[in-house]
């Protein structure tokens, strides 16, 4: 058996492929639900209601989707250029750390009187902190050919340990009764709520705007072309005049900034302080979301809301039926695999030779 590239893809295939992926995902997950001894139909309907069944459900899903979308964008732009950034998690924490450092208690007087400026300085610092974490691996990749998968992945743990040290040291909140928790950012810096009495905040708009901007950038700018060309075929891109090293550094800057921004927005929009369990692996989920979206910025929005919905819905389903929330992870993982396989099968056909 081997794969043979199709000459053209039928439009029916483009619609059928994701549908098949969804059906396959539901079937596989249903088997697990049955195994857990719960009724399949009711499990799915509770999951759906928990994710999208009410204003509250929607608000929770979108709150969860905000950092997921930003991390998904960070990963997708990097993957587009074949910079395999596995470090969005660490970059997110670096951004969050910068946010509490700049926005927290010790902030200076002048900035305190101009909250808009203070907010701008805080987000820029967060973005730069995220970018700084990725620029090192990118530079090593360009100069010495060091595999960025390894360096970015391992940096996650280093950043997390740094954050841990800070939370037990200089950034520790004296009022936290010994919990490793940072001081809170100034109340002026907190993002306002989009809907009253819910947690969904204006960070969502930041995420959506970022997706839109990234899409336009990839489509209509020379840098966007350079990124796509470099990812498509590095040698051919270089031949056509794309500066590979400069483009790679730009990609690292953009990708790291988006992940760092996700950290700042989580702090400013949801928690207001930093803890070590602030992110349940948003950075890693960003990889799944970027792949689900086919690395398309607007697709990342859809995929981010989907993954957030599954996670949130599974929480409420689990409370009602006792099916473990791990079902959510299985659904997301199977969805990713089936989307990748169906995507491959629209481009290739399997041939028995």
């Amino acid at each position: 058996m081997r794969l043979e590239r199709r000459e053209g893809t039928a439009s029916a295939g483009l619609i059928l492929a994701p549908l098949t992926a969804v059906v396959f995902t539901l079937v596989v997950s249903a088997a697990l639900v049955l195994w857990a001894g719960a009724p399949v139909g009711r499990t799915y309907s509770l999951l759906l209601q928990g994710a999208f069944g009410s204003v509250f459900a929607w608000s929770e899903t979108l709150t969860r989707a905000t950092p997921l979308i930003l991390c998904g964008l960070a990963v997708s732009v990097a993957f587009r250029a074949r910079l395999f950034n596995i470090g969005a998690e660490g970059q997110l924490y670096a951004g969050a750390l910068a946010a509490v450092v700049v926005g927290g208690g010790g902030a200076d007087e002048a900035l305190g009187r101009a909250p808009e400026l203070h907010f701008a300085v805080m987000t820029v610092c967060s973005a730069l902190a995220g970018a700084a974490v990725l620029l090192g691996p990118a530079w090593l990749k360009i100069r010495l050919g060091v595999d960025e998968v390894v360096t970015t992945l391992l940096l996650n743990f280093i950043v997390l340990l740094l954050v841990s040290a800070m939370l037990d040291g200089p950034m520790k909140d004296p009022a936290a009764m010994g919990w490793p928790q940072s001081v809170a950012i100034a109340p002026d810096l907190e993002l306002s709520k989009l809907v009253e009495r819910t947690r969904v905040h204006t960070g969502l708009l930041w995420a959506l705007t970022s997706a839109l901007m990234l899409w336009v950038m990839l489509r209509s700018t020379v840098l966007g072309f350079d990124i796509r060309a470099l990812g498509a075929q590095a040698r051919a891109a270089a031949f056509a005049g794309v500066p590979p090293q400069r483009t790679m550094l730009w990609v690292a800057l953009i990708s790291g900034s988006l992940a760092g921004l996700a950290g700042a927005i989580e702090v400013a929009g949801r928690t207001s302080y930093l803890t070590l369990d602030m992110s349940p692996g948003y950075g890693y989920s960003g990889i799944v979301i970027a792949m689900l979206a086919g690395l398309h910025p607007l697709g990342v929005v859809v995929a981010g809301v989907f993954v957030a919905g599954v996670l949130v819905g599974a929480d409420s389903m689990s409370r009602a039926l006792g099916v473990p929330t791990y079902l959510a992870d299985v659904i997301v993982a199977v969805a990713l695999l089936s989307v990748l396989v169906s995507g491959t099968l629209t481009r290739y056909r399997v041939v028995r030779r």
Partner: protein, 512 residues
């Protein structure tokens, strides 16, 4: 020549890949002691047909009979056992193994305790002696020249007792002398009763070695003739399907000032991919053609002149300035480049045709302002390239990988040579073309050559690097030979004899 007993018979072979019909009801037979040439352009279905014969593919319809017995499809082992040997166009030896190991590889059972190397060795030498193919069984395959590797490939097939040998474009990697030696070997094999299928798109050698010719076009057998009863013009016409006209170099253009000069240029790289002191001057309005067996530093030279590699030493000038070292700077300075690897370096397969067409010019103010692509002018330019250079087979929005090889090359040539608005000096100043017609069909070859002649007439200096000696001699105003990272003196083609060039390609010092 066709003796009474056919050793191989293909009946009604058809093979489809999706909508593409690669072979359509092809029938042919091969007699004992016969050389059958399978002639056709790239994409005519030659390779698919022999892949079916050798069991790499399974035919959709039709049957194969070897020595009167049906050959099961899709099984290379069955083909080997039936006595079919295949010598691929790109030699498939394990570089780190000795010649003997390469030959014996796969002929012994895995569970045998010890390898029967002594017997293998004497058998190899016996076969080599019988067919006049001298070989050193201990030599490491990676150290052999391409001609020697091919000889090992042939021995590999003979060692396994092949009675029918399939040779896929065997002369592509050989010097003229090596080709002559190969043809003699083929003659010896035929005398000893072997049968040979010889695949080629070169008319001269088909006329020389074969007894019978089968011409394929678009997957169909369009003609079959005894070689002595046909001629090159007729074969070319069968291949293309219409009368052929060839582009001709006009004599009498006088070269102008030096456009590009290299002095003692060095470039590091693995062996076969380095320059050991190359000096060359290219004048406006001339084509300098570089002959040589591939893997003697041509890629290093082309990469250097295309901005893909930095020189390790020596001086390089473009007009009166130092030679630019990045592709972007070269493009801005008016250097048009046609790379060897068109699918891997020439185009960005996943990106649409229109972006590929404008890719090199994107940084010019005409096509982008402040980092924003001016999509309107960029698309117009792309449409112009597609129209003027006759790029067919996929629309401007389709991914460039959908293009056939010939159309890909037209796109690459088009984007490199399309006129540039603004800029005082003539455009292009310099054209670097590495294997620009390799693997193209006759029509596309003529098209590309014509465009290079036009660039020369417009005052460009053209550097043509090619494995195809006929092309080098036909196109070059001056011809130089590259061997082991060095370049011979560049002389007008009239001053080279074929024998002399062949010796120079083989690195014989008397010739250079």
């Amino acid at each position: 020549m066709l003796s009474a007993e056919p050793v191989l018979r293909l009946a009604g072979i058809s093979k489809r890949f999706g909508d593409l019909v690669a072979n359509d009801n092809v029938c042919l037979s091969l007699g004992r002691g016969e050389v059958l040439a399978l002639l056709g352009e790239n994409g005519a279905g030659k390779s698919t047909l022999v892949s079916i014969l050798f069991g790499h593919y399974r035919a959709d319809e039709g049957s194969i009979e070897v020595f009167g017995r049906e050959l099961p499809g899709g099984n290379p082992r069955a083909a080997l056992e039936a006595g079919i040997g295949m010598v691929h166009q790109h030699v498939t030896l394990a570089d780190n193994l000795s010649v003997l190991d390469n030959v014996m590889l796969g002929t012994e059972a895995l569970w045998r305790w010890r390898s029967l190397r002594t017997q293998g060795r004497s058998r190899l030498l016996e076969v080599a002696g019988r067919f006049g193919l001298p070989v050193n069984p201990q030599a490491r395959a990676g150290d052999l020249s391409l001609g020697e590797r091919q000889r090992v490939e042939i021995l590999k097939a003979l060692y396994r007792g092949a009675r029918i040998l399939i040779l896929d474009e065997p002369t592509a990697v050989l010097t003229p002398q090596e080709s002559d030696a190969l043809f003699e070997t083929l003659g010896e094999m035929v005398r000893q009763g072997l049968s040979i299928v010889f695949i080629s798109h070169k008319l001269a050698e088909v006329l020389r070695v074969s007894h019978r010719v089968v011409v394929l076009r678009q997957g169909r057998k369009v003609a079959e003739a005894f070689t002595p009863q046909t001629n090159a013009l007729q074969l070319a016409q069968w291949m293309v399907g219409h009368p052929v006209k060839q582009s001709q170099r006009e004599a009498g253009l006088r070269p102008g000032r030096v456009v590009c000069a290299l002095q003692e240029v060095h470039c590091d790289g693995s062996s076969g991919d380095r320059l050991n002191g190359v000096s060359l001057a290219l004048h406006a309005g001339e084509i300098v053609a570089i002959a040589g067996i591939s893997g003697h530093g041509q890629s290093a030279l082309a990469d250097l002149l295309c901005g893909m590699r930095r020189p390790g030493g020596g001086r390089m000038m473009l007009r009166d300035a130092p030679f630019p070292i990045t592709p972007a700077a070269l493009i801005a300075a008016g250097v048009a480049r046609i790379p060897e690897d068109r699918a891997g370096v020439g185009i960005l397969g996943d990106l649409p045709v229109w972006e590929n067409a404008v890719a090199e010019r994107l940084r010019a103010p005409e096509f982008s302002r402040g980092g924003w692509i001016r999509a309107g002018t960029a698309r117009d330019f792309a449409a112009g390239v597609i129209r003027d250079f006759d790029v067919r087979g996929a629309g401007p929005m389709a991914a460039a990988r959908a293009l056939s090889g010939g159309n890909m090359q037209k796109l690459i040539v088009g984007r490199a040579l399309a006129p540039k608005s603004g800029g005082a000096s003539p455009f292009p100043q310099l054209v670097v073309a590495h294997q620009p017609t390799w693997g193209l069909d006759v029509g596309a070859v003529a098209f590309v050559q014509q465009r290079l002649f036009e660039a020369r007439a417009a005052g460009a200096a053209v550097l043509l690097i090619s494995d195809d000696l006929d092309e080098v001699l036909a196109m070059g105003d001056r011809v130089a030979v590259m061997v082991r990272g060095r370049l011979s003196e560049a002389k007008p083609p009239e001053q080279w004899s074929r024998a002399e060039i062949g010796l120079a390609m083989a690195g014989d010092r008397r010739a250079a």
